[in-house]
Symmetry: C2
Subunit: 184 residues, 2 copies
DNA sequence: ATACACATACCGCGCGGTAGGTATGTTGAC
DNA sequence: GTCAACATACCTACCGCGCGGTATGTGTAT
């Protein structure tokens, strides 16, 4: 049988494509739709090709999760570059990034809903690390409330609640952004 | 072969036990551990027995989800009985119930993290219904923020973030309760 | 010639689901 | 009160399929 292999790509390219396809599949069709073969097919590759980059499905999911957090962290760092060492700078950046996640459908952060213990640990570790790192510029309790509210806002987006109460959500969002700028 | 069937139970009893076992299994071992056989075994019954009560796994999960929402709704209604027709009464009740969920490990609300479209719709429908029902006693935007913050608080609990920043969470929680009482 | 980056072909297992059997409870005619 | 007739509430045994994973082949670049 003649091979229909296309021109070889940079290995890192396919790896990133697999990560993206996994995230997209999870976001659009739910986590149950994320199978090895479905991901491979979406990336235009076979299972063998996928397993060349990731040793197991578990590691693939974990890699996607870490990648999502990395993007999230990068967006926060970018904001922190302009607003560092002020009180509550981390929470402000966090809030702004989270509130923008809904706009940005490309980030399939919805994959985060996987209730896997190991993945929770990764997120928990990241958050604790950032909180302790910025504890010198601690936020006020009012700003912390807004940070938690932003998480709730994101959660409502995950659960497609916005389709029911779209305009109320927009009002709330603007209020959160406004309150964030005022709070210390 | 002699049957080892135990004394027959009320049908509704086993049905509720199956719902409870499914929720517990999902909460303790993750959604991946929820298989038909695992649930049946946990309830001390065979697969055949389970399928007598639920036509498919999908329907079982949905039933568990609806049951959880029903319990959640019941707790809110109980609080509304003492505080009805005041401004923001629904949001106040909602906040108090959500903030108590973390204390109460028995409610395996963590099952809600299933990113299934149909389940999201159930939750979305419930919330929209309650919001429109209580729109005559609309809450202030400040109280709405607290309601979203309560969701975020619950989400942090799901992701086991509390293990890292337990005392900060307790402070925040008290602040949320306090602010809820003050807000209109 | 060697290492890499895939493709091909296959395996075993556990899953959701089904078919049919068997105790137990319930009803109603007499 | 008795007993047939039926419905209920499970159990037993089985099936097919799709999944994650493996072993091995093959084209390409250096």
């Amino acid at each position: 049988m003649t091979s229909i292999r296309q021109s070889p790509k940079q290995p890192e390219v396919l790896r990133r494509k697999l990560l993206a396809c996994t995230a997209q599949l999870a976001a659009e069709q739910g986590i149950n739709a994320v199978t090895i073969q479905a991901v491979a097919a979406a990336a235009g590759v076979t299972k063998g090709g996928l397993f060349h980059h990731f040793p197991s499905k578990e590691k693939l999911i974990e890699a996607v999760f870490r990648d999502q957090i990395e993007q999230f962290d990068g967006a926060i760092e970018a904001l922190l570059a302009d607003d560092a060492d002020t009180h509550g700078c981390f929470s402000r950046a966090y809030i702004n990034v989270v509130l923008q996640l809904s706009d940005n459908p490309l980030i399939a952060q919805s994959l985060s809903v996987i209730s896997d213990t190991a993945l929770c640990q990764i997120w928990s570790d990241w958050l604790r690390d950032r909180l302790t790192r910025h504890q010198a510029t601690d936020a006020s309790i009012e700003l912390e409330v807004i940070r938690y509210a932003a998480d709730g806002y994101w959660l409502a987006d995950l659960w497609k609640v916005d389709s029911a109460i779209r305009q109320e959500r927009e009002i709330l969002r603007l209020h959160l952004i406004n309150a964030t700028m005022k709070a210390p």
